[in-house]
Symmetry: C2
Subunit: 306 residues, 2 copies
């Protein structure tokens, strides 16, 4: 049983109540707590020593990454982050200085993003540092942008370049908050997700939630410089499809909006690439098209317990 099978089993029959607009299964939960015109976003995400960072990672970058991952999930709902709590599981021996530097990195990104750090908890996790962030945000009511909104005919877009994140980007990525809000404010964004498990894996989450398939154009997928530099370890295109932790946005828009979106994007965000990588089709799974023809993609993203 891998991570996704376990989650599917655990989330089958969770307790609910009248506040729940969207429960388990999207980038954030959405709650209607009675804020006029707004839903509340609610999300947690953890980083663990030896898995998401090492003992050699500069502590400022550990704190920054933990918060940035949650912010990326808020971005995937085109939301605005508001407040966070920090849960620290500390090894038996720890340097207060080290913990202070984790907070320095976390606080700096929080300041920049307008997020209040309103408390949290320290407890013991003897063998390794465990750092979990709980995040609250807001998003305008109306049609929330879920994973389930993709329809046949939509164009599929990704921001930035993909693959090779472990070379450094995973500690320094910019959550696409501003970009996501601009997209939602100016275009009909029908489905959106942040790429944490790799393009192939996360696109499959969208396809499954939406009950559709996708056809990707191989030459259109933006392969990062980091993935190309590591070609000896892994073919760059495979890295772009399956490496985790890109933290870019993947979203769909009606095909007739695609060109207008690309034009407007270039003016608004000239430094950040936006690529139309394919289209949503009827059916299921991913078809990859290159100059030699089309084939079904069997590759999945990163599964945490695979």
């Amino acid at each position: 049983m891998n991570e996704f099978e376990l989650i599917a089993r655990l989330t089958k029959s969770l307790p609910t109540n009248e506040t729940v607009s969207t429960g388990a299964g999207d980038d954030c939960a959405l709650l209607d707590l009675g804020v006029p015109g707004q839903l509340i976003l609610f999300k947690t995400d953890a980083v663990v020593e030896g898995i998401h960072f090492t003992r050699e990672t500069p502590p400022e970058k550990i704190g920054r990454k933990a918060l940035a991952r949650c912010l990326s999930d808020v971005a995937a709902m085109a939301g605005t982050p508001v407040a966070a709590l920090v849960t620290l599981g500390l090894p038996g021996k720890f340097e207060p200085e080290f913990i202070g530097r984790i907070y320095d990195g976390l606080n700096a990104l929080a300041e920049k993003s307008g997020v209040a750090i309103v408390g949290g908890e320290t407890t013991t996790n003897p063998e390794r540092l465990f750092l979990s962030i709980a995040m609250l945000g807001t998003v305008p009511c109306g049609k929330p942008i879920l994973r389930s909104g993709a329809k046949a005919g939509h164009a599929i877009f990704v921001t930035g370049e993909l693959g090779g994140s472990l070379a450094g980007k995973h500690l320094e990525f910019e959550p696409r908050l501003e970009e996501a809000r601009w997209l939602a404010g100016h275009f009909g964004i029908h489905a959106m997700i942040d790429l944490s498990d790799g393009l192939a894996g996360d696109l499959r989450h969208v396809l499954k939630a939406s009950g559709v398939g996708a056809e990707l154009l191989k030459s259109a997928i933006p392969v990062s410089r980091a993935a190309k530099m590591r070609a000896r370890e892994k073919p760059p295109f495979a890295a772009a499809l399956t490496d985790g932790e890109d933290f870019e946005l993947l979203f769909t828009v009606a095909s007739q909006d695609a060109v207008k979106l690309l034009d407007a994007w270039k003016k608004k965000f000239p430094k950040l690439k936006l690529s139309c990588i394919g289209k949503i089709v009827a059916g299921d799974g991913i078809i990859l098209r290159d100059q030699t023809g089309a084939s079904r993609l069997e590759t999945h993203g990163y599964a945490h317990f695979a």
Copy 2:
């Protein structure tokens, strides 16, 4: 540096914004997100294998305890819990059945408490199970019940009986949600906290936040049967003062309300003891009074890194 010194250092200069009504340092954070007449409560709490439970603990009770601890913090603000997220750090080898049973216990208490479980995360924590809950709730605007509201002359009350929780209660306690809301609705409750670190420790949190001292009457402190049964391991009165995880409420009311409160409580909650254990005084620290006189109490509660 113990847990409390570390927290004091980390929370000195946290990023904030205009939504923050009460940040780090109370049982929950309080946020004004624009819900008419309400503040949002925000809290996280974690339980860790080997610290808060053992490998032999029935998994249903692990899940129940994790959620109940957060509910107890919501009770300490006289709030209503609404929704929770579950973060699971799983050892390399885990039985899906075991995780399912953790959720069974957690879900049962959530259902009973009206709490929606709206998602969460699974990740890896190779050596031991780490289970963190993030909780949202609401509380009426107005005068929130903080740790900092105690004033000289107030009577100090505790619910239930104290000490010896590790004999079983720590896995089965009832968060005092209904009692707390009833108290806040019918009496002027000026300061409140849930007893997680032991009476002596948690009362000191209230005293420090309020800038006052306390005088306790030894004979009035309700010592639990479990503490008395374990007298050979630890003097029962010391257990009532310093054992952690009682998860009862400690609160202060104006002294003229004390008798009226005790009478009304007996009618409303006949099965749950309520004890007036002393009074708030000017100064600092705790003075303990018995038939032989008064002495300064040096004992502290449980400090997680002591």
